[in-house]
Structure formats: C-alpha cells, structure tokens
C-alpha cells in the first residue's frame, strides 16, 4: 500500500473508492496570475528603483544565484523587448535560466513536445491583455450552440451578464452549460465549434 499513499499525500491520499462519480466543479475561476515572491526585499528594491530613477538609468539588471532583477526606463523600451514588462523576478528566471530541459523543450515545442489542444488559443489570448478571459473550467468538447441547428449562445458584440450561458462543454456525454460569470461584451472567441478544449484554455475574451 505504500505506493498508493506515496503519490497522494495529505487529504487527497484517498481515492474515493467505489463512490458515485465525482462532478468536476463546473465553476469558472479566474486564473490567478501566480505570484511567488521569492524573498525579494521590497525596501531594497524600492531603494534601487529610486537610485535608478534619480540617476536617469534606462535599464538596470541584477542577478544572483536564483535571483535576477532587471529594470529599464524610457519611452522606447517597451517596443522591442521580449520581457519588457518592468519588474520580472523569480518567474522570469525560472524560464529564462532555461537550464536543463526547460529550454530544450521550450525551443522544441513544435517538434518533440506534446500537442496541446489549447496551445493556439493560449497564444492568441496572451496577446489580448486588455480583455477579460473566460477560461474553460473543464476538459471537453466546446459547442457554441445548444444543438447543431440552433443559434450560437453568443457572438462577437453580444452583451453578457454573469448568468449568461456562453457555450456548452461536453464531457463524458454530459452537456455542461458554461456561464460568463461577469458582464461585458464578447470581443473574441478563441475556439472553433466542436473543438476539444482543456482545463484553463481561453474560450472568450470580454471587453468590460
């Protein structure tokens, strides 16, 4: 039994053996932009920023074992840089110090890496930073209308309220109606009708 437990520590240790099927929680959540402050001393940072500002630097970068910080100032900065978004700390270094295989596989995404159904939508949505994204709460097949001949729930320009059903995601023969959970105007639809979607994959972009 040891292995059984070993993979599933804490409260998740027990598989619900022989109980009724679990319903995936069909509630959308806004994905939290995962923040992990890896012991950044804000006072130091503030002082640094002050110094850089006063001295009119356009760029500043500092790196230590597992820690890297970089600043840049000035109008033209934003245009060119890939990682131009101001302060980028531990998150950045995780990807940027690609070390071992992370780079590897990142650069090889098209060849050796797994094919993800949501890869294209993810890329598109990441460019629409001004939009509010409705992600898929479950894995399944995306349908824009309640039946093949019916009208789509929403289209570009539709106004939605939190309770508005925006699509159906079919999972295990069950049709799950997905609600907008916020109000706004549909500005983008990232997924084709009938296409498989994975958890967290962007479905719609709303203008608030």
């Amino acid at each position: 039994m040891d292995d059984h437990v070993s993979q599933t520590p804490g409260d998740e240790a027990q598989v619900d053996r022989d109980t009724s099927i679990e319903r995936a929680p069909v509630r959308r959540r806004r994905n939290q932009p995962a923040r992990s402050d890896n012991s950044v001393n804000m006072d130091e940072l503030r002082e640094l920023i002050q110094l850089i500002r006063e001295n009119d630097f356009t760029e500043f970068e500092l790196e230590r074992e597992g820690f890297r910080v970089r600043f840049r100032r000035g109008a033209e900065a934003g245009a060119s840089e890939t990682g131009a978004s101001g302060v980028t700390t531990s998150q950045e270094s995780a990807t940027k110090q690609p070390a071992g295989t992370s780079t590897t596989t990142e650069t090889k995404v098209t060849t050796t890496s797994a094919a993800h159904p949501g890869a294209k939508a993810q890329t598109e949505a990441s460019e629409d930073q001004d939009l509010y994204i409705i992600p898929s709460p479950i894995v399944g097949t995306f349908y824009r209308a309640p039946s093949p001949n019916a009208d789509s729930f929403v289209k570009i320009g539709s106004s939605v309220e939190p309770e508005t059903v925006v699509c159906i995601i079919e999972a295990m023969k069950l049709m799950n109606e997905i609600q907008a959970e916020t109000s706004g105007e549909v500005a983008k639809i990232y997924v084709e009708n009938g296409q498989p979607v994975e958890y967290g994959q962007p479905l719609f972009g709303l203008k608030k």
């Binding site: 292995d3 599933t8 597992g66 070390a99 071992g100 596989t105």
Partner: protein, 469 residues
C-alpha cells in the same frame, strides 16, 4: 475474461512524475502513441513534454486533476485512446475507475475490477488468499466488533498482537498491543484513525511478528490463465511504512525458499483469476516462515530492481497482457542475474524528512556501468509542493550485493541536485551501515538506524514501528 488480441494505437497515462515518463518510454518502444494529462502546475513536467499529446485537466489539487475521473475519461474520449495506464497511486487501485473505463470501452491496464476491489479490502483479501492456499498470520477472519470478541481472539493468537485497519494501509489505523489490558484502547484508537483516514472504521487483529522482513513476489499473469513470477524484492528498509530502498534478490532467500514463495504466489493468483502484473507481499519471520500480507494490483515504485536482474520490461508486459496477448514465457525462462538496489530520492530534508519543494538549480545524473535513473525533473524545474516528494529513483545493478552497494554509493556521490534538499545523504549513510552491508535487516531497521544516527525526527507516533503495509 479473455478476449481476442487487440493492438493499442494510443494510451492515456493517468499519472504524473517519473512513472508517467517510465510508461511513455515503453510506449515509445512499442510504437504506441501517448496522451499525457496534467494539472495546471505540471505544464513543465517532462511527462507532458515527452508525450505525443497532452491536456491540462484541472488545477493543482489532485482531487481536481489526477483523481478527477470525469476529466480523465473525457480526455480519453476526445483523444480517442484505446487504453489507460494508471501508474501507481492516484487511480491505480480504484476498482470504480477500472469499471468506468470498461463502461466507456477503454481498456484499463491492470487486473479486472473485481480483483482490484477484493484486494482493496484487507480483511476480504486475507480470507480470499487463505482460501487460495496462502498462509496468513493467525488473526480475526472478520472485522472485530467488540472488545470482548477482540480479547478472546487475542488470547487465542497470543500476545503481542497488532490491530489493523481493514480499509487501508500506510501505517494508519495500526496499533501494536503487548498485553490484554491495552487492547480496548488500541481497538478504539485504531478504529477512529481508520475511520478518519479511510472512511471505514473496521479493524481486525493479527499476530505481531518481531523483526519481520518485507518480501514481495512480482507476478505476471495473462488473460488465459498463465502466470509466472519474476522472483522477489526485499523491501524491509522502510520508514513509517514507506519504503526507502529495495533490492532484488533478497540477501536471505535461498533458491528453494524463492521457488517456494514464488510458486505459492503464482498458485494463488491463478486461483483468483488474476491477469496483469501484480505483487504479492509477504511477511517473512525469523524462522523463514512467510505469511501473506496484501496484494498490490498495479505497477510498483520498486519494479526496476526486478527489471534489472531479469531484463524483463514489466510495463511492456502489462501492456501486452492488456492487449490480450499471451504471456509467452514459462517459469523456466526466468533468469536472475546479479543484484540490484533502488534508492528513492525524495525532495525532503534527509534529517527531519520535512518536504523540500522548490527550484532545482543544478542537476547531474550518474552514468557508467550498471546505473539507471528514473526521474522527471531537470535543472530549472520547480518541484511543486502538491504531490509526492519522490523526484527520482537511482537503481544499480552489479554482479554481487557488495558490488551493488559500492556502485550505489558512487552513483549517489555523482548525483548532484541543488536548490532543494534530498534524501541522498540518508541513502549514503545507509550504504555505509554495517548491518545493512551484512544484509541484517528487518522492517525495524530504520528505527534503529535513525536513533543511532541521532536523527532529529520524532518517532512514529505509535511509539513503535509496526508491520509494513
């Protein structure tokens, strides 16, 4: 039970970590496409990178991702897979999941659901295996319902006895009872613990064996009634019923005893109608008498030591059997060459055993003769805090046990993992331990070892290390 052979084109792997990678390797060798499922924190895991297709099925908590049956089945249907390999842990021993797979016309790579269910209930498994011819420790045939009944039983068995949960393992719901007056309290405590851990407060009583060894037999059975064993694994080195390192063969088994235990396991599996890879766990006492403990109806963490000494690919055999192929080997084909040891490398403080997730800043794997490393991490990978702490397995193979120990030592010395703490230093100390080197081990080994080595950890809360689950 038996069906016509069917070749799998695509398999979904309902797991993560090193075992998901391990399964991918064999699928690649067999020309079978793989689908990885993963939680949203596991996007950078190697099993996702090396699978042919992948889907994110939920957030970090296992209950919403790796244990989320509807999401997994839904993914299997979307990707149109032929079969699901559950690995170990998570859904590997869920008879319910196996049934859902069957209902959805997806082959579950494992034994039939009723056998999974039977082996999941420790009381029923004990009875079934006793009926199938295995010796079990003297104990209660059914869950004990009252203190009087328990006291009567315990006196028949003779003290010390052990109280165990019917519904689970891993050391929870266990109490060692030295004398009659302790029994009532132990029954109550174990039952409460079992109810909390397994949603089932049933407990039973068994004879308690001093200095037992944990010896398990790897079996392979096909859907046509053929069954062989691949020898034993010695798994006595455990801490709180978690195996730390395993060996094949056991330093104490004579060829005769190996055959005896192996034949007993095979005979029982045949009677049960077992089909797939599986492990029959025995307790071996100081007189070389062996007693059935439980059966694991899945691939095990420690399967590589058997692979090293037999050159069998156990995952390949699981898949072939699930495809409806015949075993194709007889017991006489078994050849055990040399000695193998596996050390489980956990992301833990090696002294306090506190988990140590985080960013791996440097990573170097040992090479050279007779070294295998199964892992899913790499330099730059952040070990998430949500799952099991095992990040790698180092397995060595050499002509003799002494050479294997020397080889493990140098492999561990050449294995560099920085940024997080790991159990490598603990394993290095075990390799230097005179009792370990002499093969003088039992499931009590780690308790003594940690005391001698001035470990900072608290003892098992039961105040004693009980039988291995």
């Amino acid at each position: 039970m038996s069906t016509a052979p069917r070749k799998f084109k695509k398999i979904l792997i309902a797991n993560r970590g090193e075992i998901a990678c391990r399964i991918i390797w064999t699928c690649k060798e067999m020309g079978i496409r793989t689908v990885a499922v993963h939680s949203d924190v596991d996007r950078d895991s190697l099993h996702v990178r090396f699978a042919d297709e992948a889907a994110c099925i939920g957030p970090a908590p296992s209950a919403q991702s790796y244990l989320n049956i509807p999401a997994i089945i839904s993914t299997a249907e979307i990707f149109n897979v032929d079969a699901i390999h559950p690995g170990y842990g998570f859904l590997a021993e869920s008879s319910y999941f196996a049934e859902i797979c069957a209902a959805c016309n997806i082959k579950f790579i494992g034994p039939p659901a009723p056998i999974i269910r039977l082996m999941g209930d420790k009381v029923k498994a004990r009875r079934a295996m006793a009926e199938a011819g295995l010796t079990v420790l003297p104990g209660s045939p059914d869950p004990v319902t009252s203190e009087e009944e328990g006291l009567k039983l315990a006196r028949e068995i003779g003290f010390p006895v052990i109280v165990k949960a019917a519904g689970g393992g891993g050391g929870r719901g266990m109490r060692i009872v030295q004398a009659p007056e302790e029994l009532g309290k132990a029954l109550e405590a174990a039952s409460n613990e079992a109810a909390a851990a397994f949603k089932d407060g049933s407990v039973y009583i068994e004879r308690y064996v001093q200095n037992p060894r944990h010896i398990e037999i790897q079996v392979l059975a096909d859907e046509y009634g053929d069954c062989i064993h691949l020898g034993e694994r010695e798994c006595s080195i455990q801490r709180r019923h978690q195996k730390l390192l395993e060996e094949a063969p056991s330093p104490v088994l004579s060829p005769e005893l190996r055959n005896e235990m192996g034949d007993a396991a095979v005979a029982a599996c045949k009677k049960l109608g077992y089909a797939s890879a599986g492990t029959v766990e025995f307790l071996l006492d100081e007189d070389n008498k062996f007693y059935f403990m439980e059966m694991n109806t899945r691939i095990q963490v420690e399967h590589p030591v058997t692979e090293m000494v037999t050159l069998a690919d156990i995952v390949r055999n699981q898949i072939r059997i699930a495809e409806g192929e015949r075993l194709g080997y007889t017991q006489d084909d078994l050849l055990i060459v040399g000695h193998a040891i596996e050390c489980r490398i956990n992301a833990e403080n090696p002294e306090t055993f506190a988990p140590s997730p985080g960013l791996i800043t440097a990573f170097n794997l040992p090479g050279g003769p007779g070294v295998r490393v199964d892992t899913y991490v790499y330099a730059g990978y952040r070990v998430p805090p949500f799952y099991d702490s095992m990040i790698a397995k180092v397995i060595v193979h050499a002509r003799t046990r002494d050479l294997a120990i020397a080889r493990m030592k140098r492999a561990l010395e050449a294995m560099v993992i920085e940024g997080i703490k790991t159990t490598i230093p603990l394993h290095l100390k075990i390799m230097d331990d005179p009792r370990f080197k002499a093969g003088d081990i039992s499931t009590n080994f780690m308790e003594h070892f940690l005391t001698q080595n001035g470990s900072k950890i608290a003892k098992n809360r039961n105040g004693a290390v009980a039988l291995a689950g």
